[in-house]
């Protein structure tokens, strides 16, 4: 009886994933390119004092942690924006949601094919009045800024440090703005 061998073409396990990753990286790259002018240094001559590498692959793990956190922030704000009905409340929370989506894209764009899957698992289930929701979201923003600051302290690559710094600065603003909405006193909201 003739015997027919079924030969399967062996390919590296990562090939399909890599292609998918490459495609997603290209999409994310667009967002990264959009953010790039904001991140660019202004006095390039001043960089002469810096001896840090622009990129360091050893940063990838820490950056994937930052990406995972941002993806969860996106999930959280999707719930929050869906939980309010007044137009200005929807607009305000959607604005912050869009910011976090931009952060996900910026970090993904930076990591390219090294970006790991980051599920949008919410960090909480925002509900109730806007005031109550805002207090919880402000705390989550604070925690996220702290996580990113801890990551910043161990990054070698300057490009990644610039991205995280520009995110932390605005997340601090998110936190204070939400605290003001929740009725916290201005001095406490400003972190004093």
């Amino acid at each position: 009886m003739p015997h027919v061998d079924n030969h399967q073409v062996e390919s590296p396990e990562t090939s399909v994933t890599s292609r998918r990753r490459l495609l997603s990286a290209l999409v994310a790259g667009g967002a990264f390119a959009t953010a790039a002018p904001l991140l660019a240094g202004r006095a390039s001559a001043a960089d002469s004092g810096s001896s840090s590498p622009a990129r360091d692959p050893q940063d990838n793990n820490a950056l994937n942690n930052a990406l995972a956190r941002e993806a969860r922030m996106v999930g959280t704000y999707r719930l929050a924006a869906a939980a309010v009905s007044a137009d200005d409340e929807v607009a305000g929370l959607t604005l912050i949601l869009d910011h976090h989506i931009a952060y996900v894209h910026a970090i993904k764009g930076y990591l390219g094919p090294d970006a790991k899957d980051a599920p949008e698992t919410p960090l909480s289930s925002p509900s109730g009045s806007l005031k109550a929701m805002a207090a919880g979201l402000a705390q989550i923003e604070d925690d996220t800024a702290t996580i990113h600051t801890d990551i910043l302290a161990i990054l070698s690559g300057m490009d990644a440090a610039k991205i995280l710094a520009s995110i932390i600065i605005v997340e601090a603003r998110h936190s204070a703005a939400l605290n003001m909405i929740s009725g916290t006193s201005p001095l406490v909201a400003s972190g004093n």
């Binding site: 202004r42 002469s48 840090s52 600051t149 710094a165 520009s166 601090a172 603003r173 204070a176 400003s190």
Partner: protein, 245 residues
């Protein structure tokens, strides 16, 4: 004929340009040109950045505690303005210990260049305008400036742990900026950039997704009766010519 004449003329011009330098010494000149002294190399080290941060924090504190500002603050807002100024004092203490740990020398003066560029002008306009609204606008501008400075300095700082220390202080200033923005234009509807009923841009609490490094612009002082507008002061973060080396 024409072509060869052209070639001869062009060759003459080239030869004239290549002439010996002795000819140029004979050219008449008016007055003496002083020798140009090259500036010394100044490296932007982490300590330079910390010292510069001290100069900007001192400038921020000086502006917020100036009588031009404090004399206009309403009683219920006085605590906020002094609280913001105290935060800069606290940053200064932090910066002092960061500098000392790196063998540097603290810098206790306001940044002279930046004060001359816009600090003094801003205070003069506030004094001239005598409007409490200017105090909030100035607070927003100063806190945004300080936050931008630290964000920018992260890109120049060599030591990763120090970048985190810088951004912690920047984040605090950024929080203060958001609070100032909410005091000017309160509510969640003021998060995004917008315009009022006259089409004039309103103050946004969250003007961009990423921290901006562009100059901070603020309108201060009285309305100019001829133009109908107020003076715009442009505040830039420190750069090579305003670093404290």
């Amino acid at each position: 004929m024409l072509r060869s004449t052209g070639i001869i003329a062009a060759s003459g011009a080239v030869l004239a340009a290549c002439g010996s330098s002795s000819a140029s010494k004979t050219i008449a000149r008016v007055g003496e040109t002083p020798e140009i002294t090259k500036l010394g190399e100044a490296a932007v080290t982490d300590v330079v950045l910390l010292r510069t941060a001290m100069s900007v924090e001192t400038m921020a504190k000086t502006i917020l505690t100036d009588t031009a500002v404090t004399s206009l603050v309403a009683k219920d807002s006085a605590g906020i303005v002094s609280g913001f100024a105290n935060a800069h004092t606290s940053h200064l203490a932090n910066l002092r210990s960061l500098i000392s740990a790196r063998g540097g020398e603290a810098y206790e003066e306001p940044n002279e260049k930046l004060m001359a560029s816009y600090g003094t002008q801003a205070l003069g306009l506030v004094a001239e305008g005598k409007s409490e609204d200017d105090v909030s606008s100035l607070m927003l501008a100063i806190e945004t400036l300080v936050a931008s400075m630290y964000q920018y300095f992260v890109s120049l700082t060599v030591e990763p742990a120090l970048r985190a220390s810088m951004i912690r202080m920047g984040a605090q200033a950024s929080r203060a900026a958001a609070v100032a923005a909410q005091l000017i234009n309160p509510g969640i509807g003021a998060f995004a950039p917008g315009v009022d009923k006259d089409g004039v841009a309103t103050v946004a609490t969250l003007p961009s997704a990423f921290g901006a490094l562009s100059a901070v612009q603020v309108q201060l002082g009285p309305v100019n009766p001829e133009t109908g507008s107020r003076a715009t002061v442009s505040m830039d973060t420190p750069s090579l010519n305003s670093f404290i080396y």
